[in-house]
Amino acid sequence: MNHIQNAATAHDEPVIQTRKLNLWYGDFQALYDINLNIRKGIITSLIGPSGCGKSTFLRSVNRINERLGYVRIEGSIDVMKQNVYAPEVELVQVRKQIGMVFQRPNPLPISIRDNVLFGHNLHNRDQKTSRSEQDDIMEAALRQVLLWDKVKDRLNHKGTSLSLEEQQKLCIARLIPVKPALLLMDEPCSALDPKGTEAVEELIWELRGDYSILIVTHNMAQARRASEECIFMLMGKVVEHTSTEQMFVTPKQQQTADYIEGRYG
C-alpha cells in the first residue's frame, strides 16, 4: 500500500517494529509486506474484516503460530528492538515478555491465588519468594485488574468458578507479576456480555501507560473507545495506521472509510 500513515514520530520508541513481514499457511499467503511501528506505552487496536490477517499478525508477534507446523515466515518482528525470530532467541523468554489474552478466558483449574502466581512461580524458581511476598504480588496484580475486592475472600476458590468477566480479568492479572513488556489481546471481550465488555475495556484503558497493548477487535466501537492508535488491515495488508480519532473521523483511504461505514466486514 502506498500511503501508509506512520504515526510513530522520531522520539517515540516503538515496542513492535516489523520489516517486510510475510507469512504463509502452507501455500496460502496470509500477510503481505507488513511494515509497522507500534508505539510503546499506548493501546493500539487492529481492525479489519474476518480473515484479513489481524489475528495472524498478533499471533506471530509472540510466535504461537509456529505450533501449527505449516507456517512459514519471512521478514522480521522486533519487540523492544530485538528480533523475536532471531535464532538465539529463547521461546520461554518471548512468552514471558509478551503476555497474551485470548478470546475465551482461559484461567487454569487451580485456585485464584495460584492462577495469579503461576507465571511468577514458574519464572522465579531459582530464587525463594516468601509467602508474604507472594501475597503482596498477588494482591497488587488483582488490585491492578480491579478484581481484588471481589475475590479477596475466596482466593482459594478455583479460577474457573468465576464469572466470564472475572475470569478474563484474572487472565490479565496473572500476566502482571512477570512484568511483560507487551500485552497482546485477541478479541478479549467477544465472549463477554455488554456489562463485562465495558468492565474489561475499562481495565484495559487503566493499564495504558504501564503496558504497551496491542488489541485485535471485531468491534469498531470498542476500537474507537479503547485505543489510541488504530491499524486497519485488509486481505493480509496494512491499509492504514493512524491515531484512532483520525481513523474514525477522517480516514485517508477509501477502503478504510468503506469498512468503518459498514460496507463490508
Binding site: L91, G99, P109
Partner: protein, 289 residues
C-alpha cells in the same frame, strides 16, 4: 390447524414400539449378570467363611480353604501393575502430549490397537517364550506378571491417553503462553486433571487381570503348592487357575466348592469395579470447567 392426523398417530405408535423393543434388549444385558451372581450366591454362598478364605486346601483340594490362591492372585496383580502402570502412563503421556503426527506415531497407535486384540492364550505362549525361557525367569510370579502386564498395557495406555486428551486444550495453551514448557504444563495442569480418569482405567485393568487364567497357567501359576510364595521368582497358586482345577481336574470335589471360589473371584472384581466407579464419581463431583 394443530389437530392430530392419522399419520401422526401411526408415527407415534412406531416410535413407542421401537422404544419398548430396544428397552427389552437392553434389559436382556443385565440378565446374565444377575443370573451369574444369583447362581454363585445360591450354590456357593454357603462356602464363604473366614476359614475358607484364610486356610489352605486339604484332602487333595476337595476341602479346606483357598488362601494360597487368594494370596497368589494378589501377588500376580500387584507385580503386573508395578510394571504396566508406569510404562502405560509414560506411553500415554508421550502419545498425548509429545508425539508429532507422523508415520511413527501412527505405527505405535496401530501396535497398541493390535496388542489389545491378541488372544490371551497367545500372550501366554509369548510369555513362555520370552520370560520363562529367553530371560530365564522360569515359571514364576515374575514371568506370569510380566505376561499379564503386556496383555493389559494397551488398556492402561488407551484409558490414560483418553483422560489426558479430555483435559481442555485451553489449559495447555494458557500454560504454554506463560512460558511453561510442555513438561511443566503436564505436571502442573494436565496430569492433576487427568489423574481421576487414569486411575479409573488402572482399577478396571486390575479387575481384568484378576480373572485372567490362560496367560498365567504356563508362566507361573501352579495347580497346587504346599508352600506360599516368598519372592517373585517362586511359583504361586492363583484363584482363576484354582477354579479351573477344582472344576475340571480334581475328582470328588463337593459341588459347592468351585462355586465358592468363583464367588470370591467375582466379588474381588466387583469390589474393585465399585471402588473405581465411586472414585470416579467423587472426582467428577469436584471437577469444574
Amino acid at each position: 390447524m394443530f389437530a392430530q392426523t392419522k399419520l401422526n398417530i401411526h408415527d407415534r405408535h412406531v416410535q413407542s414400539l421401537v422404544r419398548t423393543l430396544f428397552m427389552l434388549m437392553t434389559a436382556l444385558l443385565i440378565l446374565p449378570v444377575l443370573a451369574i451372581l444369583a447362581t454363585l450366591i445360591v450354590k456357593g454362598g454357603s462356602m464363604i467363611s473366614w476359614d475358607f478364605l484364610f486356610s489352605d486346601p486339604t484332602d487333595g483340594m476337595t476341602a479346606g480353604g483357598i488362601f494360597p490362591a487368594l494370596l497368589g492372585t494378589i501377588w500376580l496383580v500387584a507385580v503386573a501393575l508395578m510394571v504396566s502402570v508406569p510404562l502405560g502412563i509414560a506411553a500415554a503421556i508421550y502419545l498425548s502430549e509429545f508425539a508429532p503426527d507422523n508415520w511413527m506415531t501412527r505405527i505405535i497407535n496401530l501396535a497398541i490397537i493390535n496388542l489389545a486384540g491378541v488372544p490371551s492364550i497367545v500372550h501366554a505362549l509369548f510369555g513362555v517364550g520370552a520370560f520363562v525361557l529367553f530371560f530365564g525367569f522360569g515359571t514364576s510370579i515374575l514371568a506370569a506378571s510380566l505376561t499379564l502386564a503386556i496383555m493389559t498395557l494397551p488398556v492402561v495406555i488407551v484409558a490414560s491417553r483418553e483422560s489426558l486428551q479430555a483435559v481442555p486444550q485451553a489449559f495447555r495453551e494458557a500454560c504454554w503462553n506463560m512460558g511453561a514448557t510442555r513438561w511443566q504444563t503436564i505436571m502442573k495442569v494436565v496430569l492433576p486433571n487427568a489423574i481421576s480418569g487414569i486411575l479409573t482405567g488402572v482399577i478396571l485393568e486390575v479387575s481384568r487381570t484378576t480373572g485372567e487364567t490362560a496367560p498365567i497357567m504356563f508362566t507361573g501359576a501352579a495347580f497346587f503348592l504346599p508352600f506360599l510364595p516368598e519372592s517373585v521368582f517362586d511359583q504361586t497358586m492363583a484363584l482363576s487357575l484354582h477354579l479351573f482345577v477344582v472344576s475340571t481336574q480334581v475328582p470328588n470335589v463337593p459341588e459347592a466348592l468351585p462355586y465358592g471360589v468363583a464367588l470370591v473371584l467375582i466379588s474381588m472384581v466387583l469390589l474393585m469395579n465399585s471402588i473405581s466407579i465411586a472414585f470416579r464419581m467423587y472426582l467428577r463431583g469436584k471437577k469444574k470447567w
